[in-house]
Amino acid sequence: MHALILYDDGRPEAALDPVEAVLTERLQAAGWTVETLRTSALSIRPCVGCFTCWTRTPGECGMDDDARTYAKAHARSQLFVVLTPVSFGGYSGRTKTALDHIVPNIFPTITLRKGEVHHPLRYPALRGWLNIGWQPVPDAACAETFAALNVRNGLNGDVKLSDTLVFTPADNAAARTAAVHALLQKVEALP
């Protein structure tokens, strides 16, 4: 099975490099193939909401850049992990620049999911969507919103497991490693 890690590595002060390393090592040990897309290496223009990917070139962004690289990798993954600085309880702008290009991977039509209107998926649903955030200063309210955002994304993506971790400078390396291991145990426990 394939895991995609989308990593906003643009803020050196965010100590997510070791988290990415632990994540990759643990997933590979469990038999996953792991693909990491670092935002610093992606050339992506922001989504302009043109819906070309729905009504002109269905399934493909009208902009020929790494937006397509991201969408293709996402379509072929069973696990999606976002490593990102937390901006006001959401993804960082650099993360969001890639993430907004998930739109080609859903159909323009409508379905009801848990009583809400959503879009059907163009590709098989992910098994898991995990968010791992970084806050330079602990902010419980923003962390709560970040977790709620993950739940919303999970509902939109019809995933089996949505979960969130938020790290701050108060978490030492051992604590981060333990938390990542515990998170991945939930993935491994999926039926």
Partner: protein, 221 residues
């Protein structure tokens, strides 16, 4: 008493967006009440850096700022987020209020709640007073029309916006009842879903893509 100033920020990356309609509505209504108003695009300032200093200056000096934005993947569009990450460090020159209106293409206004929470956290971190959040479902039904022209179909929308303007004009937060009023769905979800499906199929047909609408170009193998 000096003229009060209002800055409407547009969070949509689209030139002719529903969010632009709402931003213009707030600006026009407050201008009619004597405010000095301006509408600026966050995406525009991100794309054209020469526009950034003016936007940051207006943001610094305004008495009230309103962000009107669409919902993209359960939160704010990328360029709006990038802009807020820069604006958060722009200290206000006077006590400033901040509110947000988030609209989505889904009929359920509640789908905007995470984005509104993000706006609320931004206001707090930027040192602005949170004046409330307006969550609108089914925003696509406006189809770029002026707010007044939707009165027949969405009377609650017009009423809520009028109440919001009245509150902002007196320097008050948008009342909770107003925030609840705008959340009312204007039609049943299934009806809205049908309308949305028909519109999308028509658009795909217009571009010769109707028979490819369910294509899977990235399917493995």
């Amino acid at each position: 008493m000096s003229t009060r100033t209002f800055l409407a920020l547009v969070g949509s990356p689209r030139a002719h967006a529903t969010s632009q309609v709402f931003a213009r509505y707030f600006a026009d209504q407050l201008a009619a009440r004597g405010w000095q108003t301006e509408v600026l695009s966050l995406a525009g300032a991100i794309r054209k850096p020469e526009g950034w200093p003016a936007l940051a200056e207006r943001f610094r000096d305004a008495d009230t700022v309103g962000l009107c934005t669409p919902l993209y993947v359960d939160s704010l569009p990328a360029e709006a987020t990038l802009a807020l990450e820069r604006l958060v460090d722009v200290a206000p020159t006077r006590p400033q209020g901040f509110f947000a209106l988030v609209n989505c293409g889904f009929p359920e206004a509640a789908q905007n709640d995470t984005a509104l929470a993000i706006c609320r956290h931004f206001a707090r971190q930027a040192g602005r007073t949170w004046l409330g959040g307006l969550a609108l479902g089914g925003g696509g039904a406006l189809a770029g029309q002026q707010v007044e022209k939707t009165r027949g179909m969405m009377p609650h929308l017009c009423a809520a916006l009028e109440q919001a303007v009245a509150a902002l004009d007196t320097g008050e937060a948008i009342p909770a009842a107003t925030q609840a009023l705008i959340r009312r769905p204007f039609c049943p979800p299934r009806v809205y879903a049908l309308m949305a499906d028909v519109g999308m199929f028509q658009d795909a047909a217009k571009h010769g893509a109707l028979w490819r609408i369910f294509a899977r170009p990235y399917a493995a193998g």
